[in-house]
Symmetry: C2
Subunit: 324 residues, 2 copies
């Protein structure tokens, strides 16, 4: 999971020395180091780029700030005029530091450690852009989407293009897999889920596949519940991230061909020990014999003991000797 770091003391000391969270994302030397920290400690099979889903709205002109304790703040986008202030041209130049990080990582990572790039999906990023901050229910974004579907649709269209550009640039720089995070997919009713999550993701995956059919794409519509199978059939990504609430036997039956990823409860990692191993075993048992990527169903919690992560990685490697 991408929230690499907050549980590692070596991350927290880099964070304290930086002026802001975004400075970490935009300074290749620091972003490379933070990406490498968990790999150095734990030797996972894949590294995920240290970055943030909000670098895209930041590069579009939304002026993102991260305030300590309060989460991100953005200049809100709520009118046609706000939308006209955003610029897609030059996006790659403004995110050059991210691609420099990817290039440096490809040189610094062990040969057999895959590098995963990522972006936020249009609905989740648009929800942040309309609210201007994090929110429990994203009511303002959901109201705007219903009151002004043309305006909201234009914002989603812009984000489909920006996200595709950003992911392709990460691939060109050396990312070997890319992941699309739709963290707030679970708050929408079915018709809006199809319109604002499923269709935009399908467009992004199709564009990526047209340009780079060799690079696997993992989609993660967190909270999609019973809509997971329809989403996957429409989006046709190579892999599908499952949140902690998804019943695995059901997902495996509904999607026999898809490479599934995720599902481990981050709470199990906080508790550690036997509880954690039992949960990991349950997931491996449910998905054994089919294509899957062992992962959490949500980010690592800050209170997690790094020793538990080490124990988990060792435990999983002991179950799959070919990847050890």
């Amino acid at each position: 999971m991408r929230q690499a770091g907050r549980y590692l003391p070596e991350y927290r000391s880099l964070r304290q020395a930086a002026r802001s969270f975004l400075e970490l994302c935009y300074t290749p030397e620091l972003a490379v180091e933070i990406t490498l920290q968990p790999i150095r400690r734990f030797g996972m099979d894949a590294a995920i780029l240290f970055s943030d889903i909000l670098v895209v709205p930041d590069a579009l002109g939304c002026a993102v700030r991260f305030e300590e304790g309060a989460g991100p703040r953005l200049t809100p986008i709520r009118t046609q005029q706000d939308l006209r202030g955003l610029a897609l041209d030059g996006l790659q130049e403004r995110l050059a530091a991210v691609y420099a990080t990817v290039r440096a990582l490809r040189e610094r990572l062990p040969e057999d450690t895959a590098l995963i790039g990522f972006a936020g999906a249009p609905w989740t990023v648009a929800a942040y852009m309309v609210e201007g901050e994090t929110s429990k229910e994203y009511a303002r974004a959901r109201i705007l989407a219903r009151r002004e579907p043309k305006l909201f649709g234009a914002l989603i269209d812009l984000l489909v293009e920006a996200t595709t550009t950003h992911l392709l640039a990460q691939i060109e720089a050396g990312a070997q897999v890319v992941q699309l995070f739709d963290s707030w997919a679970g708050v929408l009713p079915e018709p809006e889920f199809v319109q604002w999550c499923q269709k935009p993701a399908a467009r992004i995956v199709a564009a990526l596949k047209a340009a780079r059919p060799d690079v696997p794409v993992i989609a993660f519509p967190r909270g999609a519940g019973a809509l997971y199978p329809a989403y996957q059939n429409a989006v046709a990504s190579d892999g599908l991230g499952l949140d902690t609430a998804v019943p695995l036997a059901w997902a495996r039956r509904a999607l026999p061909e898809t490479c599934l990823q995720g599902n481990l409860d981050p709470i199990a990692l906080v508790v550690g020990g036997r509880t954690m191993r039992a949960e990991a075993e349950r997931i491996v048992a449910a998905l054994a014999g089919s294509r899957f990527i062992f992962n959490l169903g949500h980010g690592v919690l800050p209170e997690t003991d790094p020793d538990s992560v080490a124990e988990l990685v060792g435990f999983i490697k002991s179950l799959s000797p070919e990847s050890a």
Copy 2:
């Protein structure tokens, strides 16, 4: 939905005159008036008792306070000693005001307006009790459930008994339907969902049915996603509340015999007009010809215009003349 009132000016003026939110719940005269307010305005087919799911922990000894803007605060229950401080004996006496409200409502409501009683489900109430406040992810409760499953299980057992007692007392006082709200069911992985949501709900429904087989029970495991059908098959309630994210065609196929309820996005009611009517029509069309209760998938939002509620009720009645 039970969050009756916050969008009605006549509720807000009663709320301002009271010392606390719980005073409204514990003063039959006020709770009766608040329950009647939406019925008087809109003439729905059923009224839901004005109360709160936290009256049960309050009566068990958790000293609930509602702080303006901050939500509820409870004395947290995190140890065996905390748990020993809770008392099931005398619960009905301490909640006598709630049952007096039900009795008075049965006299004051029109003959053909059903009265719905309710309670929080054990997992949701336990999550509040462990946290001591509302929380985004209920991490402390989930950690305690995994670290000390015996302690947490004892708390759930206590809540199964208290909830059954509280619902039966509402039925004896005149509630004609009861609803069990598991608002935080969606944060648990499948095995814990079965253990802490599904099995406790099944025990409560079985106990209610043994005592009063004539009274319908509606269960609402909000956020259960793909676990809805297994939950319903195990719990065997008469009705099932669906949150806004549940795809209706899927739910209807998976549960052909169950009376379904809910699903309307409260945001559609805030937006009103054509959007609202289109959403309502979609739900009616998907569930037409089978047993269902038209309702929201979550509470009415405070910014909702009462005129939109009136329009919605009129629109639904125009579609189902037999209930007009």
